[in-house]
């Protein structure tokens, strides 16, 4: 996997938010790469910067966000330095995104058909403005999302559809313009439990069929386990651990990842799970060094000294934690 060039490569991304009283340093040195056809999970608790990371890729951050440093290379081109026109082509043809809330992600006053057709039209995948061809593509996309009666759906307004149907429409919209990277931002959080599974399967089948890479944001580890090949664990604007999905579940290294896994309720378990004490740090005045130290039971004076290095503990398994750095040093020095 190492030899080929990554489809998406985020390097040292820093994103700050202008707030009253200064800048909130939300993303602090995020590194992430995705290879063609790969399914990536981005896991972490609410407010840890998962959505900010993917919105940076699409360049749809809110106005008060400032990209303070880093680069986002897509097929070798820096998305952050792209002109609007090139960016729109990229968004239209290569990238697509599914939002968390399908109710908010569809414009309430236009028909579903108009919205899908406009997405197809402006992506530039059809030559010129051939209405019937565009409509055909829209119907095809809806059919692939197993929507019954796609012709009728095209004339419906979003409010006439159920939540699950709306999310299918969003997926169809993302799918209609053949993309090489699909970003799904908690696509099932706002859906009925019975629909969640269907939608997840739909997404997985579609990306596998089209060899599309997937970044799936979720705070549900169960979903991540089922859907992804590789997982990035994020905490307070940092990537704290990265490994294949199997590894993360079998042998987590970072104290935060361990805490997350211990928080999963099990059907057989009794009572409420352990959870992790404490809260996310203040982004306005983040602690020096490791951002997890205040909640970490292994914290030592070492942790406040500087940002922990991202260490490859075993091949293809990286952790940002001093504990492993010490042992690594000891091993290396033979102490």
């Amino acid at each position: 996997m190492k030899q080929q060039q990554a489809l998406l490569d985020i390097k040292d991304l820093h994103v700050h938010f202008k707030v009253y009283g200064g800048y909130a340093r939300v993303l602090n040195d995020v590194n992430l790469s995705v290879f063609t056809g790969e399914k990536i999970g981005l896991v972490g608790e609410s407010g840890c910067g998962k959505t900010t990371t993917v919105k940076s890729i699409m360049r749809v951050l809110p106005k008060q966000a400032v990209i303070a440093g880093g680069e986002i290379l897509f097929e070798g081109q820096d998305v952050l330095r792209m002109k609007d026109k090139a960016l729109n082509v990229l968004r239209g043809q290569k990238l697509s995104m599914i939002f968390q809330d399908p109710v908010a992600a569809l414009n309430p006053v236009f028909t579903v058909g108009k919205q899908i057709c406009d997405a197809i039209r402006f992506s530039g995948i059809t030559k010129g403005n051939n209405k019937s061809e565009i409509r055909k593509l829209a119907v095809k996309a809806l059919k692939e999302c197993s929507m019954p009666d796609p012709y009728r759906i095209l004339d419906n307004y979003p409010f006439q559809l159920s939540g699950g149907m709306r999310q299918r429409v969003c997926i169809a919209m993302a799918l209609a313009t053949a993309s090489s990277l699909m970003i799904a931002d908690e696509p099932t959080t706002n859906l009925d439990v019975t629909i969640q599974d269907q939608v997840l399967h739909l997404i997985r089948d579609l990306v596998e069929k089209n060899n599309t890479a997937l970044i799936l944001i979720t705070h549900s580890l169960g979903v991540a386990r089922e859907m992804t090949d590789r997982i990035y664990v994020m905490y307070a604007g940092n990537i704290v651990e990265m490994a294949s999905t199997e590894e993360i579940f079998e042998a987590p290294y970072h104290p935060y990842t361990k805490g997350l896994l211990n928080s999963i309720p099990k059907l057989t378990g009794d009572g409420i799970m352990a959870g992790i004490d404490g809260y996310l740090p203040d982004y306005l005045n983040p602690p020096l060094g490791c951002r997890f130290q205040s909640r970490c039971s292994y914290a030592s004076e070492y942790c406040g000294k500087g940002k922990p290095p991202f260490i490859e503990v075993i091949p293809e398994h990286y952790v940002a934690c001093y504990r492993y750095s010490e042992s690594w040093q000891k091993n290396k020095l033979g102490v």
Partner: protein, 340 residues
């Protein structure tokens, strides 16, 4: 299209009931307010016999329901009685004064919608920048300043200090033949461009004075509702789908954002039918608002009832038009709440 037709017919059906209710209400109120209509009509020096005759002629001795029925029989035939001020048929007065005010209000309403939405959209597109801040300061000024203050200021500036606009009246050149009573329309129908231009110049000052408060309100409303819509996920989704920002703003955001603005302007149009009074007085503009207020001051019963009724009808028509526009802008109104 069929659902639209049903929607309009429903609204029209309801309007009939509203109008009958309104006429009963105003008929009673006009007769409750103090003052003797006979004395007001004939003067304090009228003989008792003449007053007596007036009361009999106008059914003032009969019970209120009977009086109303007499009035209603006439009204259905388009006969609203005689005005005691102008000593003409009220219907003739209305035919003369209503189009003048409607023309004025239409001018003001167009200014409100176009100006308000344009300024609001500009403001929302560049929040926190110079243009946004100027629009916001100006709109505070606009909301805080009543129309008659603008009217007097305009008159001083554009008719006295720098006389480029006519100060009073509707038209200075010979009037075009009155096909509709709307001077702009009549002069166009007659192919008389000189009259058209002159009538238009007469509309600019009173129309703008009347509209400014509304423009300011509409601009603020549009800005707020566009900002709100711009922060919604669907804007992100549309941009993420590769649709250019300009198009997203001009089409996808402006349309849902314009709905509350249209409602605000509709309310303002209704209010203008009454508010036009001071502006009409200042510019000696022969409109129905001025006529109506004079009728109330002089207890001109027939004129009061007729004017209120006409304003009511106009209000209902404006509302139906606005509902149609709103349901075009936002299909949720048409498909979900069409019963109200």
């Amino acid at each position: 299209m069929k659902e639209m037709l049903i929607f309009i017919l429903k609204r029209l059906g309801w309007s009939v009931f509203v109008l009958i209710g309104l006429s009963i209400l105003i008929f009673c109120i006009a007769r409750i307010i103090p003052g003797d209509p006979g004395v007001m009509a004939l003067g304090t020096r009228a003989t008792p016999e003449a007053l007596e005759q007036y009361r009999i002629d106008n059914f003032l001795y009969e019970s209120l329901p009977r009086q109303y029925i007499h009035w209603f029989e006439g009204a259905v035939k388009g006969n609203f009685g005689v005005s005691t001020q102008t000593r003409r048929e009220v219907a003739l007065d209305i035919k003369e004064f209503l189009p003048a005010t409607l023309e004025l209000i239409l001018f003001a309403a167009i200014l409100e919608i176009v100006g308000g939405i344009l300024l609001g959209a500009l403001s929302a597109r560049y929040p926190g920048e110079v243009i946004d801040n100027s629009v916001r300061v100006a709109s505070y000024l606009g909301i805080a300043t009543p129309a008659f203050v603008w009217a007097i200021m305009f008159m001083l500036i554009f008719a006295f200090v720098w006389p480029i606009l006519p100060a009073i009246g509707r038209i200075d050149v010979p009037k075009p033949p009155p096909y509709t009573g709307f001077l702009l329309l009549d002069s166009l129908l007659a192919g008389n461009l000189i009259a058209f231009w002159d009538a238009f110049k007469h509309l600019i000052m009173p129309g703008t004075a009347l509209a400014l408060t509304g423009v300011a309100q509409a601009a603020r409303m549009t800005r707020t509702s566009m900002m709100e819509n711009l922060s919604k996920d669907y804007v992100g989704a549309e941009i993420a789908a590769g649709i250019p920002m300009r198009r997203v703003i001009l089409q996808y955001v402006l349309r849902p954002a314009a709905t509350p603005t249209v409602s605000i302007v509709a309310l303002d149009i209704a209010a203008m039918l009454g508010n036009a009074f001071l502006v009409e007085v200042i510019f000696s503009y022969p409109g129905i608002s001025k006529y109506g207020i004079n009728a109330i001051l002089n207890k001109d019963l027939n004129a009061i009832v007729a004017v209120v009724l006409v304003i009511g009808i106009t209000f209902l028509i404006v509302n139906i038009i606005v509902d149609i526009i709103a349901s075009y802008l936002d299909p949720r109104i048409r498909l979900q709440g069409g019963d109200s």
